[in-house]
Amino acid sequence: MGATEADSERYQVSASWFGPSLVILRVLMGWHFLYAGLTKVLNPGWSSRGFLLNAVPEGNPIPGFWPYLANNWYCILDPMNAWGLTLIGIALIVGAFVRWSAFWGSVMMLFYWAAALPLANSYVIDDHIIYIAALFGLGAFGAGRYYGLDEYIEQLSIVEDYPRLRYLLG
């Protein structure tokens, strides 16, 4: 993984485990997103307003931001939340557009993290930050290419013609 030839030669991964470990991380992470999304999509009474207005902890560094979002943007925010989680979850599970999904999943987690500040039992790092790290890892390793649809999508002629699309795939 290092920058030099010498580094990359001595770097070994567990040949039998690293593929499965990528798939496991991708599918579990995806299921976590999908379930969180589906419960919101299927619950007609769900809205982020209740959380944003009442559940943001006291001492939050941007206390004015959340009521602002809740009161002005909830009609966009609610479907973005519910469908964002659902679609990101599906994409991670089937391994399609993994980098694109990982990016937007990270953006969502960053918002959730900011709304959870100050953390009750931790300092800076909570589960959302770990999810961001996991998503970054999945993107960096192109996890959609192991037993995922991105393996096939990347062979399409449109992707061959526009290799930059791979920044969204993998």
């Binding site: 993984m1 290092g2 920058a3 990359s8 770097y11 070994q12 991964v13 567990s14 040949a15 039998s16 485990w17 690293f18 593929g19 499965p20 470990s21 990528l22 496991i24 991380l25 579990l28 992470m29 299921w31 976590h32 379930y35 969180a36 419960t39 039992n121 931790s122 300092y123 800076v124 790092i125 909570d126 589960d127 930050i129 770990i130 999810y131 790290a133 996991a134 970054f136 890892g137 993107g139 960096a140 390793f141 192109g142 290419r145 192991y146 290799p163 930059r164 791979r166 920044y167 993998g170």
Partner: protein, 179 residues
């Protein structure tokens, strides 16, 4: 990834090569290792430094939900004479696993025991409030497995040097707990 980006072949199985993003895969491993290590370490220190001492008893007796399939097991644990040992194992375990992951020493050993701990935490958190099967603990287990599979301690970690020691060269199976 784009063709201009340098790629590094990694051997999987016998004949398969895959391309990973050379620029990002190493840093990604490092970031995952540091962040989850910090999460463990802080959770451990939080318990170690708790005023008046920390014990799992309160959680085990009061915070395990009545519908938990293992209620009796956790109650037995809380009332057992081994509770002080369980408390120390929790505090020292989280702290040391956190340290090991942060400095990248004995990463596979740490990932294994971290996963066992997360497995217990997950059992105690059943039935999950907003999820089926997967909670943050399960994601942590997957992440630790990933770090172990990739030998994340060998990228900017102490295991890179530990594995060069003559002792490890003589006993290569030690790499199952390093990396």
């Amino acid at each position: 990834m784009a063709e201009s980006e340098p790629t590094l072949p990694i051997r999987t199985g016998h004949e398969t090569y895959v391309e990973v993003s050379e620029r990002w895969s190493g840093p990604a491993l490092l970031i995952m290792r540091l962040l989850i290590g910090w999460h463990f370490f802080l959770a451990g220190m939080h318990k170690v430094l708790a005023p008046g001492g920390w014990t799992a008893k309160g959680f085990l007796l009061n915070a395990v939900r009545p519908a938990n399939p293992f209620t009796e097991f956790f109650q037995m644990m809380a009332e057992s004479s081994l509770l002080p040992l369980i408390d120390v194992m929790n505090m020292a375990g989280l702290t040391l696993i956190g340290l090991g992951l942060i400095v990248g020493a004995l990463v596979r050993w740490c990932a294994f025991w971290g996963s066992i701990m997360m497995w217990f935490y997950w059992m105690a958190s059943l039935p999950l409030a907003n999820s089926v099967f997967v909670s943050e603990h399960v994601v942590y287990i997957a992440l630790l497995f990933f770090l172990g599979a990739f030998g994340a301690g060998r990228y900017r970690g102490v295991d890179e040097y530990v594995e060069d020691l003559e002792f490890v060269q003589n006993y290569p199976w030690l790499r199952y707990v390093l990396g």
